[in-house]
Amino acid sequence: MTRFLWLIRRELWEYRAAWILPAVTGVLLVLAASFGHVDVDIAGVRPGPSALGGALLFGFGIVFLFAMLAYSSWYLLDCLNADRRDRSILFWKSLPIGDAQTVLAKLATGLIAIPLVYFAAADVTTLAIAFIVSLRARAWIGTALWHPEQWLQLQALWCYLILTLAIWLLPVAGWLLLVSASVRRATVLWSLLPPVAAVWAERVFLGTNWVGRILVNRLVDGYPATAFHDLSGSLLGALGFPGASRTAVPASVWELLAPARFLAAPATWIGVGAGVVLVGAAIRLRARNVDP
Protein backbone atom coordinates (compact mmCIF):
# COMPACT_ATOMS: atom_id res chain seq x y z
CA MET A 1 0.00 0.00 0.00
CA THR A 2 2.81 2.43 0.81
CA ARG A 3 4.28 1.58 -2.59
CA PHE A 4 1.02 2.61 -4.21
CA LEU A 5 0.98 5.87 -2.25
CA TRP A 6 4.53 6.56 -3.42
CA LEU A 7 3.41 6.04 -7.00
CA ILE A 8 0.61 8.57 -6.50
CA ARG A 9 3.03 10.94 -4.82
CA ARG A 10 5.27 10.68 -7.85
CA GLU A 11 2.32 11.74 -10.04
CA LEU A 12 1.77 14.84 -7.93
CA TRP A 13 5.48 15.71 -8.24
CA GLU A 14 5.20 15.49 -11.98
CA TYR A 15 1.85 17.27 -12.26
CA ARG A 16 2.46 20.15 -9.93
CA ALA A 17 -0.48 22.00 -11.47
CA ALA A 18 -2.70 19.43 -9.70
CA TRP A 19 -2.30 21.45 -6.52
CA ILE A 20 -1.03 24.81 -7.85
CA LEU A 21 -4.19 25.31 -9.92
CA PRO A 22 -6.70 24.85 -7.09
CA ALA A 23 -4.47 26.92 -4.81
CA VAL A 24 -4.47 29.80 -7.31
CA THR A 25 -8.23 29.47 -7.84
CA GLY A 26 -8.70 29.63 -4.09
CA VAL A 27 -6.51 32.69 -3.72
CA LEU A 28 -8.36 34.48 -6.54
CA LEU A 29 -11.74 33.74 -4.96
CA VAL A 30 -10.49 34.93 -1.57
CA LEU A 31 -9.17 38.13 -3.17
CA ALA A 32 -12.51 38.68 -4.87
CA ALA A 33 -14.26 38.27 -1.52
CA SER A 34 -11.81 40.64 0.15
CA PHE A 35 -12.02 43.49 -2.33
CA GLY A 36 -15.12 42.85 -4.40
CA HIS A 37 -18.63 44.12 -3.87
CA VAL A 38 -20.64 41.78 -1.69
CA ASP A 39 -24.39 41.81 -1.99
CA VAL A 40 -27.06 39.36 -2.89
CA ASP A 41 -29.88 40.28 -5.20
CA ILE A 42 -30.91 37.55 -7.59
CA ALA A 43 -33.77 38.58 -9.87
CA GLY A 44 -35.19 40.75 -7.11
CA VAL A 45 -35.50 37.77 -4.82
CA ARG A 46 -33.95 37.83 -1.37
CA PRO A 47 -33.44 34.26 -0.29
CA GLY A 48 -33.62 33.05 3.26
CA PRO A 49 -30.38 33.22 5.25
CA SER A 50 -29.60 29.53 5.57
CA ALA A 51 -30.47 28.86 1.94
CA LEU A 52 -28.12 31.65 0.96
CA GLY A 53 -25.29 30.20 3.00
CA GLY A 54 -25.83 26.79 1.48
CA ALA A 55 -26.03 28.22 -2.02
CA LEU A 56 -22.79 30.17 -1.53
CA LEU A 57 -20.91 27.15 -0.23
CA PHE A 58 -22.36 25.09 -3.03
CA GLY A 59 -21.52 27.73 -5.64
CA PHE A 60 -17.85 27.78 -4.67
CA GLY A 61 -17.88 24.02 -4.60
CA ILE A 62 -19.20 23.95 -8.17
CA VAL A 63 -16.35 26.20 -9.35
CA PHE A 64 -13.83 23.80 -7.87
CA LEU A 65 -15.72 20.76 -9.11
CA PHE A 66 -15.65 21.86 -12.74
CA ALA A 67 -12.03 22.98 -12.51
CA MET A 68 -11.23 19.56 -11.05
CA LEU A 69 -13.08 17.67 -13.79
CA ALA A 70 -11.27 19.64 -16.49
CA TYR A 71 -7.84 19.21 -14.95
CA SER A 72 -8.34 15.56 -14.10
CA SER A 73 -9.42 14.77 -17.66
CA TRP A 74 -6.35 16.47 -19.00
CA TYR A 75 -4.16 14.63 -16.52
CA LEU A 76 -5.55 11.22 -17.50
CA LEU A 77 -5.03 12.06 -21.15
CA ASP A 78 -1.41 13.08 -20.60
CA CYS A 79 -0.12 10.74 -17.91
CA LEU A 80 0.72 7.73 -20.10
CA ASN A 81 1.93 9.98 -22.92
CA ALA A 82 4.34 12.44 -21.30
CA ASP A 83 6.95 9.85 -20.36
CA ARG A 84 6.89 8.45 -23.88
CA ARG A 85 7.47 11.88 -25.39
CA ASP A 86 10.56 12.53 -23.27
CA ARG A 87 11.60 8.82 -23.26
CA SER A 88 11.67 8.74 -19.46
CA ILE A 89 9.45 5.64 -19.78
CA LEU A 90 12.76 3.76 -20.08
CA PHE A 91 13.72 4.96 -16.62
CA TRP A 92 10.37 4.11 -15.02
CA LYS A 93 10.37 0.71 -16.67
CA SER A 94 13.82 -0.01 -15.30
CA LEU A 95 12.28 -0.01 -11.82
CA PRO A 96 10.39 -2.98 -10.36
CA ILE A 97 6.94 -1.53 -10.98
CA GLY A 98 4.45 -3.57 -13.00
CA ASP A 99 2.52 -1.97 -15.83
CA ALA A 100 -0.79 -2.69 -14.10
CA GLN A 101 0.45 -0.96 -10.96
CA THR A 102 1.60 2.06 -12.95
CA VAL A 103 -1.69 2.45 -14.80
CA LEU A 104 -3.82 1.86 -11.69
CA ALA A 105 -1.79 4.44 -9.73
CA LYS A 106 -2.43 6.98 -12.49
CA LEU A 107 -6.11 6.07 -12.55
CA ALA A 108 -6.33 6.52 -8.78
CA THR A 109 -4.52 9.84 -9.06
CA GLY A 110 -7.01 11.12 -11.64
CA LEU A 111 -10.15 9.81 -9.94
CA ILE A 112 -9.30 10.11 -6.23
CA ALA A 113 -6.09 12.04 -5.45
CA ILE A 114 -6.68 15.08 -7.66
CA PRO A 115 -10.36 15.40 -6.53
CA LEU A 116 -9.18 15.20 -2.90
CA VAL A 117 -6.71 18.01 -3.48
CA TYR A 118 -9.45 20.16 -5.01
CA PHE A 119 -11.79 19.23 -2.18
CA ALA A 120 -9.23 20.41 0.37
CA ALA A 121 -8.64 23.63 -1.58
CA ALA A 122 -12.40 24.26 -1.82
CA ASP A 123 -12.73 23.73 1.94
CA VAL A 124 -9.98 26.15 2.85
CA THR A 125 -11.26 28.70 0.36
CA THR A 126 -14.87 28.66 1.56
CA LEU A 127 -13.71 28.89 5.18
CA ALA A 128 -11.57 31.92 4.36
CA ILE A 129 -14.31 33.53 2.28
CA ALA A 130 -17.00 32.97 4.90
CA PHE A 131 -14.74 34.58 7.46
CA ILE A 132 -13.90 37.59 5.28
CA VAL A 133 -17.46 38.14 4.10
CA SER A 134 -18.81 37.94 7.64
CA LEU A 135 -16.45 40.74 8.59
CA ARG A 136 -17.16 42.91 5.58
CA ALA A 137 -20.74 42.39 4.56
CA ARG A 138 -24.10 43.14 6.10
CA ALA A 139 -24.70 41.25 9.29
CA TRP A 140 -27.44 39.04 7.91
CA ILE A 141 -25.17 37.64 5.21
CA GLY A 142 -22.44 37.09 7.74
CA THR A 143 -24.59 35.06 10.05
CA ALA A 144 -26.03 33.19 7.08
CA LEU A 145 -22.57 31.92 6.18
CA TRP A 146 -21.71 30.48 9.56
CA HIS A 147 -23.60 27.27 9.81
CA PRO A 148 -21.53 24.38 11.16
CA GLU A 149 -24.29 22.02 10.08
CA GLN A 150 -24.00 23.25 6.49
CA TRP A 151 -20.26 22.96 6.71
CA LEU A 152 -20.52 19.31 7.63
CA GLN A 153 -23.05 18.78 4.88
CA LEU A 154 -20.59 20.18 2.36
CA GLN A 155 -17.95 17.68 3.50
CA ALA A 156 -20.41 14.85 3.10
CA LEU A 157 -21.40 16.14 -0.32
CA TRP A 158 -17.78 16.29 -1.47
CA CYS A 159 -17.02 12.76 -0.29
CA TYR A 160 -20.17 11.50 -1.98
CA LEU A 161 -19.29 13.35 -5.19
CA ILE A 162 -15.74 12.00 -5.30
CA LEU A 163 -16.79 8.40 -4.72
CA THR A 164 -19.77 8.33 -7.05
CA LEU A 165 -18.02 10.33 -9.78
CA ALA A 166 -15.04 7.95 -9.61
CA ILE A 167 -17.45 5.07 -10.27
CA TRP A 168 -19.61 6.86 -12.83
CA LEU A 169 -16.69 8.28 -14.80
CA LEU A 170 -14.58 5.09 -14.75
CA PRO A 171 -15.29 4.35 -18.44
CA VAL A 172 -14.42 7.94 -19.36
CA ALA A 173 -11.16 7.71 -17.38
CA GLY A 174 -10.43 4.33 -18.98
CA TRP A 175 -10.95 5.80 -22.44
CA LEU A 176 -8.64 8.75 -21.70
CA LEU A 177 -5.92 6.39 -20.39
CA LEU A 178 -6.29 4.19 -23.46
CA VAL A 179 -5.86 7.17 -25.78
CA SER A 180 -2.93 8.37 -23.69
CA ALA A 181 -1.18 5.00 -24.04
CA SER A 182 -1.96 4.46 -27.71
CA VAL A 183 -1.15 7.63 -29.62
CA ARG A 184 2.15 9.46 -29.79
CA ARG A 185 0.81 13.02 -29.80
CA ALA A 186 -2.37 15.07 -30.25
CA THR A 187 -4.06 13.19 -27.43
CA VAL A 188 -6.90 15.69 -27.08
CA LEU A 189 -7.79 15.34 -30.75
CA TRP A 190 -7.66 11.53 -30.61
CA SER A 191 -9.79 11.42 -27.50
CA LEU A 192 -12.57 13.35 -29.25
CA LEU A 193 -12.30 12.12 -32.82
CA PRO A 194 -13.47 8.49 -32.48
CA PRO A 195 -16.60 9.27 -30.44
CA VAL A 196 -17.54 12.16 -32.73
CA ALA A 197 -16.90 9.97 -35.77
CA ALA A 198 -19.03 7.18 -34.27
CA VAL A 199 -21.95 9.54 -33.65
CA TRP A 200 -21.66 10.97 -37.15
CA ALA A 201 -21.37 7.53 -38.81
CA GLU A 202 -24.39 6.23 -36.91
CA ARG A 203 -26.48 9.22 -37.98
CA VAL A 204 -25.45 8.96 -41.60
CA PHE A 205 -25.64 5.21 -42.08
CA LEU A 206 -28.28 4.09 -39.59
CA GLY A 207 -30.17 7.30 -39.02
CA THR A 208 -30.20 6.67 -35.29
CA ASN A 209 -28.46 8.39 -32.40
CA TRP A 210 -27.73 5.73 -29.78
CA VAL A 211 -24.04 6.51 -29.37
CA GLY A 212 -24.76 10.21 -29.00
CA ARG A 213 -27.41 9.56 -26.39
CA ILE A 214 -25.13 7.23 -24.44
CA LEU A 215 -22.35 9.83 -24.48
CA VAL A 216 -24.61 12.69 -23.40
CA ASN A 217 -26.05 10.50 -20.67
CA ARG A 218 -22.61 9.54 -19.39
CA LEU A 219 -21.11 13.04 -19.61
CA VAL A 220 -24.01 15.38 -18.88
CA ASP A 221 -27.36 14.39 -17.49
CA GLY A 222 -26.98 10.76 -16.44
CA TYR A 223 -24.92 11.39 -13.34
CA PRO A 224 -27.06 14.00 -11.55
CA ALA A 225 -30.19 12.05 -12.45
CA THR A 226 -28.78 8.82 -11.03
CA ALA A 227 -26.84 9.95 -7.98
CA PHE A 228 -29.15 12.74 -6.73
CA HIS A 229 -32.81 13.39 -6.03
CA ASP A 230 -34.00 16.26 -8.22
CA LEU A 231 -30.74 18.19 -8.08
CA SER A 232 -31.54 21.10 -10.37
CA GLY A 233 -35.01 21.64 -8.88
CA SER A 234 -33.52 21.71 -5.40
CA LEU A 235 -30.86 24.18 -6.39
CA LEU A 236 -33.28 26.62 -8.01
CA GLY A 237 -35.68 26.19 -5.14
CA ALA A 238 -32.93 26.79 -2.61
CA LEU A 239 -32.03 30.02 -4.35
CA GLY A 240 -35.65 31.08 -4.21
CA PHE A 241 -36.38 31.29 -7.91
CA PRO A 242 -40.06 31.99 -8.31
CA GLY A 243 -40.64 29.27 -10.90
CA ALA A 244 -39.02 26.55 -8.83
CA SER A 245 -41.14 24.36 -6.66
CA ARG A 246 -40.78 25.39 -3.03
CA THR A 247 -41.54 21.87 -1.91
CA ALA A 248 -38.40 20.71 -3.63
CA VAL A 249 -36.17 22.67 -1.27
CA PRO A 250 -34.32 20.07 0.77
CA ALA A 251 -33.90 20.60 4.48
CA SER A 252 -30.39 19.24 4.24
CA VAL A 253 -27.97 17.75 1.79
CA TRP A 254 -28.88 14.26 2.99
CA GLU A 255 -32.20 14.51 1.18
CA LEU A 256 -30.35 15.18 -2.06
CA LEU A 257 -28.11 12.15 -2.08
CA ALA A 258 -29.42 8.97 -3.64
CA PRO A 259 -26.74 6.34 -3.00
CA ALA A 260 -29.12 3.39 -3.13
CA ARG A 261 -30.53 4.44 -6.48
CA PHE A 262 -27.02 5.11 -7.78
CA LEU A 263 -25.77 1.66 -6.77
CA ALA A 264 -28.89 -0.06 -8.09
CA ALA A 265 -28.81 1.64 -11.48
CA PRO A 266 -27.79 -0.65 -14.34
CA ALA A 267 -26.04 2.31 -16.03
CA THR A 268 -23.64 2.51 -13.08
CA TRP A 269 -22.50 -1.08 -13.48
CA ILE A 270 -22.49 -1.12 -17.25
CA GLY A 271 -20.14 1.86 -16.98
CA VAL A 272 -17.92 0.03 -14.48
CA GLY A 273 -17.74 -2.96 -16.82
CA ALA A 274 -16.77 -0.78 -19.77
CA GLY A 275 -14.27 1.04 -17.57
CA VAL A 276 -12.57 -2.21 -16.49
CA VAL A 277 -12.23 -3.31 -20.12
CA LEU A 278 -10.77 0.05 -21.19
CA VAL A 279 -8.33 0.24 -18.26
CA GLY A 280 -7.28 -3.35 -18.96
CA ALA A 281 -6.61 -2.42 -22.59
CA ALA A 282 -4.56 0.59 -21.44
CA ILE A 283 -2.45 -1.71 -19.22
CA ARG A 284 -1.78 -4.07 -22.12
CA LEU A 285 -0.77 -1.19 -24.35
CA ARG A 286 1.47 0.25 -21.66
CA ALA A 287 3.46 -2.98 -21.60
CA ARG A 288 4.29 -2.45 -25.28
CA ASN A 289 4.81 1.28 -25.07
CA VAL A 290 8.58 1.19 -25.45
CA ASP A 291 8.47 -0.27 -28.96
CA PRO A 292 8.79 2.27 -31.72
Partner: protein
Protein backbone atom coordinates in the same frame (compact mmCIF):
# COMPACT_ATOMS: atom_id res chain seq x y z
CA UNK B 1 25.25 -21.84 -11.22
CA UNK B 2 22.63 -21.38 -13.93
CA UNK B 3 23.39 -18.77 -16.58
CA UNK B 4 22.29 -15.19 -15.96
CA UNK B 5 21.01 -14.85 -19.48
CA UNK B 6 20.12 -17.77 -21.71
CA UNK B 7 18.85 -17.03 -25.20
CA UNK B 8 17.81 -19.72 -27.68
CA UNK B 9 16.73 -18.62 -31.15
CA UNK B 10 15.91 -15.15 -29.89
CA UNK B 11 14.18 -13.34 -32.74
CA UNK B 12 12.71 -9.87 -32.95
CA UNK B 13 10.78 -8.48 -35.90
CA UNK B 14 9.55 -4.97 -36.48
CA UNK B 15 6.99 -5.55 -39.19
CA UNK B 16 8.98 -7.14 -42.01
CA UNK B 17 12.34 -6.02 -40.63
CA UNK B 18 14.28 -8.72 -38.83
CA UNK B 19 16.15 -6.90 -36.05
CA UNK B 20 17.38 -10.02 -34.24
CA UNK B 21 17.68 -13.27 -36.15
CA UNK B 22 17.71 -16.53 -34.13
CA UNK B 23 20.38 -15.35 -31.70
CA UNK B 24 21.74 -17.97 -29.31
CA UNK B 25 23.97 -17.04 -26.42
CA UNK B 26 24.45 -17.67 -22.76
CA UNK B 27 26.01 -15.43 -20.12
CA UNK B 28 27.43 -16.81 -16.88
CA UNK B 29 27.52 -14.96 -13.55
CA UNK B 30 30.57 -12.86 -12.77
CA UNK B 31 31.24 -11.88 -16.39
CA UNK B 32 31.50 -8.49 -18.03
CA UNK B 33 30.13 -9.02 -21.50
CA UNK B 34 30.48 -6.55 -24.34
CA UNK B 35 27.66 -6.69 -26.86
CA UNK B 36 29.45 -5.17 -29.79
CA UNK B 37 28.16 -4.31 -33.22
CA UNK B 38 27.69 -1.50 -35.70
CA UNK B 39 24.68 0.82 -35.52
CA UNK B 40 21.49 -0.97 -36.42
CA UNK B 41 22.99 -4.40 -35.77
CA UNK B 42 20.30 -5.35 -33.27
CA UNK B 43 22.10 -4.55 -30.00
CA UNK B 44 19.34 -2.41 -28.57
CA UNK B 45 16.66 -4.91 -29.60
CA UNK B 46 18.52 -7.68 -27.77
CA UNK B 47 18.82 -5.51 -24.67
CA UNK B 48 15.15 -4.58 -24.76
CA UNK B 49 14.16 -8.22 -25.01
CA UNK B 50 16.48 -9.06 -22.10
CA UNK B 51 14.87 -6.30 -19.99
CA UNK B 52 11.29 -7.26 -20.78
CA UNK B 53 10.64 -4.04 -22.66
CA UNK B 54 9.65 -5.71 -25.88
CA UNK B 55 8.08 -8.94 -27.06
CA UNK B 56 10.17 -11.48 -28.93
CA UNK B 57 10.08 -14.93 -30.44
CA UNK B 58 12.22 -17.81 -29.22
CA UNK B 59 13.32 -18.72 -25.72
CA UNK B 60 14.83 -16.24 -23.35
CA UNK B 61 15.47 -16.60 -19.62
CA UNK B 62 17.05 -13.81 -17.59
CA UNK B 63 17.94 -14.60 -13.97
CA UNK B 64 15.68 -17.62 -14.40
CA UNK B 65 12.68 -15.53 -15.45
CA UNK B 66 10.72 -14.82 -18.58
CA UNK B 67 11.48 -11.11 -19.00
CA UNK B 68 8.34 -10.22 -20.97
CA UNK B 69 5.95 -11.76 -18.47
CA UNK B 70 7.92 -10.94 -15.31
CA UNK B 71 9.55 -7.58 -15.99
CA UNK B 72 8.68 -6.06 -12.60
CA UNK B 73 10.06 -9.07 -10.69
CA UNK B 74 13.14 -9.16 -12.90
CA UNK B 75 13.89 -5.49 -12.31
CA UNK B 76 14.22 -6.15 -8.58
CA UNK B 77 17.49 -7.84 -9.42
CA UNK B 78 18.54 -6.01 -12.56
CA UNK B 79 19.41 -2.42 -13.31
CA UNK B 80 19.48 -0.65 -16.65
CA UNK B 81 20.97 2.53 -18.05
CA UNK B 82 19.80 3.26 -21.58
CA UNK B 83 21.67 5.06 -24.31
CA UNK B 84 19.97 8.42 -23.97
CA UNK B 85 19.40 10.66 -20.98
CA UNK B 86 16.01 9.40 -19.84
CA UNK B 87 15.61 10.85 -16.39
CA UNK B 88 12.54 13.11 -16.58
CA UNK B 89 13.36 16.81 -16.50
CA UNK B 90 10.84 17.62 -13.75
CA UNK B 91 12.34 15.18 -11.26
CA UNK B 92 14.34 16.61 -8.35
CA UNK B 93 17.42 14.58 -7.59
CA UNK B 94 16.74 14.10 -3.87
CA UNK B 95 13.21 12.98 -4.72
CA UNK B 96 14.51 10.58 -7.33
CA UNK B 97 16.62 8.98 -4.59
CA UNK B 98 13.67 8.92 -2.16
CA UNK B 99 11.39 7.39 -4.77
CA UNK B 100 13.76 4.63 -5.85
CA UNK B 101 14.54 3.91 -2.18
CA UNK B 102 10.81 3.54 -1.46
CA UNK B 103 10.05 1.44 -4.52
CA UNK B 104 13.11 -0.75 -4.83
CA UNK B 105 13.67 -3.64 -2.37
CA UNK B 106 17.43 -3.77 -3.06
CA UNK B 107 18.39 -0.11 -3.07
CA UNK B 108 21.28 1.11 -0.94
CA UNK B 109 20.63 4.77 -0.36
CA UNK B 110 24.01 5.48 1.27
CA UNK B 111 25.91 4.12 -1.70
CA UNK B 112 23.86 6.20 -4.10
CA UNK B 113 24.31 9.28 -1.90
CA UNK B 114 28.05 8.72 -1.74
CA UNK B 115 28.27 8.54 -5.52
CA UNK B 116 26.17 11.67 -5.88
CA UNK B 117 28.39 13.45 -3.36
CA UNK B 118 31.39 12.77 -5.61
CA UNK B 119 29.67 14.54 -8.51
CA UNK B 120 28.98 17.60 -6.33
CA UNK B 121 25.56 18.07 -7.92
CA UNK B 122 23.21 19.99 -5.58
CA UNK B 123 20.46 17.56 -4.64
CA UNK B 124 17.63 20.09 -4.78
CA UNK B 125 18.11 20.60 -8.52
CA UNK B 126 15.76 19.29 -11.11
CA UNK B 127 17.16 17.04 -13.80
CA UNK B 128 16.36 19.60 -16.51
CA UNK B 129 18.74 22.08 -14.87
CA UNK B 130 21.71 19.73 -15.33
CA UNK B 131 24.02 19.30 -18.29
CA UNK B 132 23.81 16.08 -20.27
CA UNK B 133 26.93 14.69 -18.63
CA UNK B 134 25.62 15.37 -15.13
CA UNK B 135 22.27 13.75 -15.96
CA UNK B 136 24.09 10.60 -16.95
CA UNK B 137 26.04 10.70 -13.70
CA UNK B 138 22.85 11.03 -11.65
CA UNK B 139 21.39 8.06 -13.47
CA UNK B 140 24.56 6.07 -12.88
CA UNK B 141 24.44 6.87 -9.17
CA UNK B 142 20.83 5.68 -9.01
CA UNK B 143 21.62 2.48 -10.90
CA UNK B 144 24.73 1.77 -8.83
CA UNK B 145 22.68 2.20 -5.67
CA UNK B 146 20.69 -0.83 -6.73
CA UNK B 147 22.13 -4.11 -5.51
CA UNK B 148 21.61 -5.71 -8.86
CA UNK B 149 22.78 -9.12 -10.01
CA UNK B 150 22.63 -7.94 -13.59
CA UNK B 151 23.54 -4.47 -14.79
CA UNK B 152 22.64 -3.64 -18.38
CA UNK B 153 24.29 -0.63 -19.97
CA UNK B 154 23.39 0.64 -23.42
CA UNK B 155 26.12 2.97 -24.68
CA UNK B 156 26.43 4.34 -21.14
CA UNK B 157 29.14 6.91 -21.68
CA UNK B 158 27.75 8.74 -24.70
CA UNK B 159 27.98 12.45 -24.02
CA UNK B 160 30.52 12.10 -21.22
CA UNK B 161 33.97 13.63 -21.42
CA UNK B 162 37.09 11.54 -21.08
CA UNK B 163 37.49 12.08 -17.32
CA UNK B 164 33.88 11.17 -16.61
CA UNK B 165 34.16 8.05 -18.78
CA UNK B 166 37.21 6.87 -16.88
CA UNK B 167 35.56 7.62 -13.56
CA UNK B 168 32.49 5.71 -14.64
CA UNK B 169 34.30 2.55 -15.67
CA UNK B 170 36.55 2.70 -12.60
CA UNK B 171 33.51 2.95 -10.34
CA UNK B 172 31.91 0.09 -12.21
CA UNK B 173 34.82 -2.22 -11.53
CA UNK B 174 35.64 -1.04 -8.01
CA UNK B 175 32.23 -0.44 -6.48
CA UNK B 176 29.93 -2.68 -8.38
CA UNK B 177 31.60 -5.70 -9.82
CA UNK B 178 32.17 -8.94 -7.93
CA UNK B 179 31.91 -12.63 -8.78
CA UNK B 180 28.16 -12.78 -8.20
CA UNK B 181 27.32 -9.92 -10.54
CA UNK B 182 27.14 -9.62 -14.26
CA UNK B 183 27.39 -6.66 -16.58
CA UNK B 184 26.11 -6.58 -20.14
CA UNK B 185 27.32 -3.50 -21.94
CA UNK B 186 26.76 -2.40 -25.52
CA UNK B 187 29.05 0.02 -27.22
CA UNK B 188 30.44 0.73 -30.62
CA UNK B 189 33.53 2.25 -29.07
CA UNK B 190 35.32 -1.01 -28.52
CA UNK B 191 38.63 0.51 -27.40
CA UNK B 192 36.95 2.10 -24.44
CA UNK B 193 35.77 -1.14 -22.83
CA UNK B 194 38.26 -3.59 -24.25
CA UNK B 195 40.37 -3.93 -21.10
CA UNK B 196 37.29 -4.31 -18.95
CA UNK B 197 35.53 -7.13 -20.73
CA UNK B 198 35.77 -10.79 -19.88
CA UNK B 199 33.59 -11.85 -22.83
CA UNK B 200 32.47 -10.50 -26.15
CA UNK B 201 29.37 -11.00 -28.24
CA UNK B 202 29.69 -9.61 -31.75
CA UNK B 203 26.41 -8.94 -33.44
CA UNK B 204 25.88 -7.96 -37.05
CA UNK B 205 22.62 -7.68 -38.97
CA UNK B 206 20.75 -9.31 -36.16
CA UNK B 207 23.01 -12.36 -35.90
CA UNK B 208 25.63 -13.33 -33.36
CA UNK B 209 28.86 -13.59 -35.33
CA UNK B 210 31.28 -14.20 -32.48
CA UNK B 211 30.75 -15.29 -28.90
CA UNK B 212 33.29 -16.20 -26.28
CA UNK B 213 35.62 -15.26 -23.44
CA UNK B 214 38.45 -12.89 -24.28
CA UNK B 215 41.03 -15.59 -23.42
CA UNK B 216 39.59 -17.95 -25.96
CA UNK B 217 39.89 -15.30 -28.66
CA UNK B 218 43.66 -15.41 -28.26
CA UNK B 219 43.56 -19.17 -28.81
CA UNK B 220 41.19 -19.10 -31.73
CA UNK B 221 42.30 -16.03 -33.62
CA UNK B 222 45.64 -14.88 -34.88
CA UNK B 223 46.86 -11.87 -36.81
CA UNK B 224 49.83 -12.34 -39.06
CA UNK B 225 51.85 -9.48 -40.42
CA UNK B 226 53.83 -10.47 -43.56
CA UNK B 227 56.11 -8.97 -46.21
CA UNK B 228 54.71 -8.75 -49.74
CA UNK B 229 57.10 -11.56 -50.73
CA UNK B 230 55.33 -14.09 -48.51
CA UNK B 231 51.81 -12.87 -49.06
CA UNK B 232 50.87 -15.65 -51.46
CA UNK B 233 51.97 -18.33 -48.99
CA UNK B 234 50.11 -16.62 -46.17
CA UNK B 235 46.95 -16.37 -48.27
CA UNK B 236 47.14 -20.06 -48.99
CA UNK B 237 46.56 -20.76 -45.26
CA UNK B 238 43.04 -19.37 -45.45
CA UNK B 239 42.75 -15.97 -43.75
CA UNK B 240 39.23 -14.63 -43.39
CA UNK B 241 40.27 -10.98 -43.65
CA UNK B 242 43.28 -8.98 -44.67
CA UNK B 243 44.32 -5.42 -44.19
CA UNK B 244 47.17 -3.41 -45.73
CA UNK B 245 49.56 -1.42 -43.60
CA UNK B 246 52.51 0.54 -45.04
CA UNK B 247 54.77 -2.04 -46.64
CA UNK B 248 53.09 -5.07 -45.11
CA UNK B 249 49.82 -6.93 -45.02
CA UNK B 250 48.04 -8.16 -41.88
CA UNK B 251 46.02 -11.35 -42.30
CA UNK B 252 43.51 -12.69 -39.81
CA UNK B 253 43.01 -16.39 -39.18
CA UNK B 254 40.62 -18.48 -37.22
CA UNK B 255 41.78 -21.83 -35.79
CA UNK B 256 44.86 -21.88 -37.99
CA UNK B 257 48.10 -23.79 -37.57
CA UNK B 258 50.20 -21.41 -35.49
CA UNK B 259 53.56 -22.97 -36.24
CA UNK B 260 52.96 -22.62 -39.97
CA UNK B 261 51.86 -19.02 -39.53
CA UNK B 262 54.80 -18.08 -37.31
CA UNK B 263 57.21 -19.24 -40.01
CA UNK B 264 55.79 -16.66 -42.43
CA UNK B 265 56.02 -13.44 -40.38
CA UNK B 266 55.01 -11.65 -37.22
CA UNK B 267 52.29 -13.51 -35.31
CA UNK B 268 50.12 -11.44 -32.93
CA UNK B 269 47.03 -11.75 -30.84
CA UNK B 270 44.45 -9.45 -32.47
CA UNK B 271 42.86 -6.95 -30.12
CA UNK B 272 39.10 -6.81 -29.86
CA UNK B 273 38.74 -3.71 -32.00
CA UNK B 274 40.74 -5.22 -34.86
CA UNK B 275 38.95 -8.50 -34.56
CA UNK B 276 35.64 -6.69 -34.65
CA UNK B 277 36.51 -4.94 -37.89
CA UNK B 278 37.95 -8.14 -39.35
CA UNK B 279 34.96 -10.27 -38.39
CA UNK B 280 32.39 -7.80 -39.61
CA UNK B 281 34.14 -6.95 -42.84
CA UNK B 282 35.32 -10.39 -43.84
CA UNK B 283 34.04 -13.26 -41.80
CA UNK B 284 30.43 -12.45 -41.11
Amino acid sequence: MPPVIDARDLTKRYGSVLAVDRACFSIEPGRIVGLIGPNGAGKTSILRAVLGLTRYEGNLRVLGRDPWRERAALMREAAFIPDVAVLPGWLRIDRAVDFVAAIHPHFRRERCRAMLAKTQIPLDRRVRELSKGLRTQVHLALAMGIDARLLVLDEPTIGLDLLARRAFYDALVEDFMDESRTILVTTHQVEEVEKLLTDVLFVNRGRIVLDGPIESLARRYAALSVDPARLAEARALGPFYERRTPGRTVLYYEDADRAALAALGDLQVPDVADLFVAKLSGGA
